[in-house]
């Protein structure tokens, strides 16, 4: 069964460092997302990406964040200068379509980011 894969599963980084979280979405999917979940809190939307550009982003997704689809398969989330409060589980997701053709998003296993 096709699945979304994320690497690494756990990343520890020092405050102020840059991190790149990697995701390989399901191959025929067109919409890509990043969500995060701070421990004990809800799953929060960060950004959606379609047709090689950001289609929507949340208030959380400030200038420190960026996303890229560097090749035909990977989808990355970069945090330029990490803060302690960026510590969370980051989930990548992909879906075939959105909107009226609402289909569910398939999620990866997540990357636990710990900023120290």
């Amino acid at each position: 069964e096709p699945e979304v894969t994320q690497t690494p599963s756990h990343q520890v980084t020092q405050m102020g460092q840059e991190v790149i979280l990697r995701c390989v979405p399901i191959s025929n999917h067109l919409y890509f997302y990043w969500y995060r979940q701070i421990l004990g809190q809800k799953v929060e939307f960060l950004v959606s990406f379609y047709n090689n550009e950001i289609s929507e982003k949340s208030e959380i997704f400030d200038d420190q964040f960026s996303v890229e689809r560097p090749d035909g398969s990977n989808f990355t989330l970069k945090i330029r200068s990490t803060k302690l409060e960026d510590s969370a589980m980051y989930f990548c997701a992909s879906s075939e379509a959105a909107g009226r053709m609402n289909t569910e998003a398939f999620f990866g296993q997540g990357t636990r980011l710990t900023v120290v």
Partner: protein, 111 residues
Amino acid sequence: DQQVKQNSPSLSVQEGRISILNCDYTNSMFDYFLWYKKYPAEGPTFLISISSIKDKNEDGRFTVFLNKSAKHLSLHIVPSQPGDSAVYFCAASAWNDKIIFGKGTRLHILP
């Protein structure tokens, strides 16, 4: 500003009985609702969905009910099984928009 609310952080149900997980939403533009299940150390997995044109959708042991006038939906699991112990996220989206998640309800199925 919680657009999707799951007011019960946890719920314990005896094995074999019905589990009912509740969810309320505030955004009247939502037209598609989803339930996700999440085990520890795993990403959310899709469970069942319902479009706003329906008031009920059933898939095996799982049934989702939608009450648009009350902006309320619920997930019924019957009979509950030990493997159903997980965190359940209610989620919603409006046309062409991202999925908004609730905080989740941790379901414990008791032997």
